[in-house]
Symmetry: C2
Subunit: 476 residues, 2 copies
């Protein structure tokens, strides 16, 4: 492990997700100082966010302090700051606190957030699921809906408390819809007295003609069958045209629901815009085949923020964790090779902010060939409720229990941190065996809205008591 | 287990803490309908809150859904509502949502919150530690302080980030101060590059002349020695006279600190005031020896909300979990006996809200003797940092490792829920063996304030890079 050195270049990595963490790791032995900057203090295992949202896992089981990951990497520094803009010409970042940092190389890996396709006002009613706080908000909403149902005496309002709409049929939507239904059917079914939580209505809406569009048609079909079997209402080829506090409009039909979750699309971090490069319609930076920003060879964009096609297949590189990790390693190796070869890119000498970056090297060094990024698809998978999944690995397709076991195994292996692996395994084991969810805690959020009476409001004396008991017993 | 019955009286219990949960459980076989109302959806194991605040345990490990506790108790109903006022004469509660509920018997067990002795403006700077959300706020503050320290280049500001003040030397203050110091010394010491977290300054301020005033003098002495040994600065006989965003004034001396935690006092829930009974200076209701409100035999106050002296010893009943649990069982048995004996208290017949409650029974039944509540002290204990504690059981005093093992055992046994016990045990084991804290996650809170530069702001070109690296390496 190389010690930090005052003459070594500074490589700044923005974002401690799969891409950023891979890049920093791959630079461990390079003669550089690596600075990882993230606005959160934790690396998040996003594929399991839906398990936090449905009370299977506590927040901290799928998050790991970024700083802890690089404890033993002596050339790595971690800062918990929010970057608000990037000046490629001056090679400087600006933080939310007005201070900043210098870079020689930059790897931009700030990820993506939920996209509402121009209807950002829907976000308040239908939260997306990209961060730990998002998942906590959704968990609070789901648990609160069941609590409100228990206190409800009006049949129509009760139905609204018990209707859960998930918009978007990708992996997140499929897994979340299955897990909410399972929560009502298995975990909560004995806990409420005045309604049957098995009757909770879970509706999954997908605008396209199949679920899991990134997987094969047979996996789409298997996931549809599995969801329908456990009672999820799947609506294909239907678009949501309106969202408000009490429901959605889908294909002209109004559906009232108190819980709506958005998993229909993502847009790249807005930091891409400050690079001055061309963006695609999702805000992703159109990068060169080596992941660099056109005209700025010392700045790379990777993961969900990069828009590129595989050199060989011509397919777009998907916005998934393995692609981000592979890109991180790819650009780290480019940087390590160039630094070792003595390459230094020229910097503007004055009035840095307004000049065009100089792409020439300052010295006589030969720039090593960078090559082109090639995505290697290791397979993909999604769970559906309890003990079922679909998986595709190396052209093979698995459904059902075996796919679920593969899913469990792969996700445990990929989790960062020994502690987390043990605790997640224990939580899953307990959850699976006892049907109970260990993290059914409403926290940090006030009740979402005014709910209904527990007792009746009229009558006095003995009459009053009898009425109150009647209301209590009503729905048993 | 008795089924709910329309002719059975309604016993409302407000508060799902130790007292309320004990009371509901003790009524399982009584011919009553029990309604437990809490503004949170979870029972909280408060003695372990400081472990959430110091990242040892995730929130959900010390909280358990109240509803789940009573899943199999068929005469129990649980509602997640906030009670805002109580009308004893009309026997009605009002909720925050304007609706309400009727009761025949009421057990008020809404607990206590932090008291700032008339300086409520200090609360924003020095959060107390009574709820799960409080503990999350404190955890965020502590972790953020270390993150800010890493980004700091000014020596004076660095010292402020690394100063932690705990006000109040009771069990909570002692345990929290020890755990913060341990966090800096053991868990974080290898994770930061630009400062030594072992130098974190933890100051425990107690206005009285000894720590743990509710325990014996020898335990006070042992805890003082143990804290000083691990490097906590303990200040006895010193009062905090001012608190603001950047520090405190204690005995005329200004100490700057970015993290201040308040554990100096509690005040009872303000619901006690709506009973119309006399309150002590901490807002607790002065109850009869049977825990009932004077003049209102069908309304009881228990736990941290009740002010009473033991009938035999004359000592005040302490505000601790065992006392609340014993009171809950005591009043549950009074109610069960009276209901079985056919006792019904008369209700006002009209204009209920403004009449004096009628304490006569409506029927010919003989009221069974209620007896007087007697607190049985099973002992008390507190941990100090890693593998040390003080404990007093049945007149015996233990210090050190054996007390700590007893502490672990007792706290595991008392935790509600099989899942929680396993997961807490695992988390403790991992934390103890690896020195690492599994829950070091900053969540739900924006950075507390503007912090300092990572890179320098002046210079260009190669000069600029060298300066930036110098700043990075500065504190290594």
């Amino acid at each position: 492990m190389r010690k930090p050195n005052i003459d070594s270049p500074i490589v700044v990595v923005i974002g401690g997700g799969f891409g950023g963490v891979s890049a920093v790791r791959a630079l461990a032995k390079a003669p550089v100082n690596v600075v990882l900057i993230d606005k959160e203090n934790h690396h998040l295992f996003q594929p399991l966010l839906y398990q936090v949202a449905t009370s299977v896992l506590p927040n901290s089981n799928i998050a790991f302090p970024i700083r802890r990951i690089f404890r033993d990497q002596s050339n790595a520094y971690v800062f918990n700051e929010e970057v608000v803009s990037i000046d490629c010409a001056a090679r400087r970042l600006t933080f939310a606190n007005q201070r900043g940092a210098h870079f020689d190389y930059l790897i931009l890996a700030a990820g993506a957030s939920s996209s509402y396709f121009g209807n950002d006002q829907w976000a308040q009613f239908a939260p997306g699921m990209k961060s730990l706080d998002d998942a906590t908000v959704i968990r609070n909403k789901i648990l609160r809906a069941f609590e409100d149902a228990e206190a409800e005496t009006d049949a129509v309002a009760l139905q609204e408390h018990l209707t859960f709409i998930v918009v978007g049929g990708g992996a997140t939507g499929v897994e979340l819809a299955g897990a909410i239904k399972e929560l009502g059917v298995d975990s909560l079914s004995k806990d409420y007295r005045r309604f049957n939580s098995k009757n909770a209505r879970v509706i999954l809406i997908e605008a396209g003609d199949r679920l899991l569009p990134s997987m094969s048609e047979s996996s789409s079909h298997a996931s549809l069958k599995a969801l329908e079997k456990i009672g999820v209402e799947v609506r294909l080829n239907q678009s949501v045209t309106h969202v408000d506090a009490t429901g959605v409009v889908v294909q002209g039909e109004r559906i009232n629901a108190n819980t709506i979750v958005w998993s229909a699309g993502v847009k790249a971090s807005s930091l891409g815009a400050s690079l001055g490069a061309k963006l695609d319609r999702n805000g992703r930076v159109l990068v060169e085949p080596d992941c660099s920003v056109p005209g700025t060879p010392n700045v790379f964009v990777i993961g969900d923020m990069a828009s590129m096609k595989c050199a060989k297949s011509g397919h777009a590189v998907p916005g998934v964790a393995p692609a981000a990790m592979q890109m991180g390693q790819f650009v780290a190796h480019i940087i390590a090779r160039e630094v070792r070869a003595g390459v230094r890119y020229a910097m503007p000498t004055s009035n840095a902010a307004n000049t065009t970056p100089n792409v020439n090297v300052t010295n006589e060094a030969q720039i090593p060939e960078r090559g082109k990024f090639e995505y290697f698809d290791k397979g993909s998978m999604a769970t559906i409720g309890r003990a079922k999944a679909v998986a595709e690995v190396a052209g093979l397709k698995f459904h059902g229990l075996i796919a679920w076991l593969a899913w469990l195994f792969v996700h445990l292996i990929l989790l960062v941190g020994f502690n987390n692996r043990i605790l997640v395994f224990m939580s899953w084991g307990i959850s699976y065996l006892t049907f109970s969810k260990g993290s059914r805690i409403i926290s940090g959020n006030p009740p979402s809205r005014v709910v209904s009476p527990v007792g009746s409001d009229s009558g006095t004396s003995l009459d009053q008591r009898r009425k109150a008991v009647e209301v209590l017993l009503k729905r048993m």
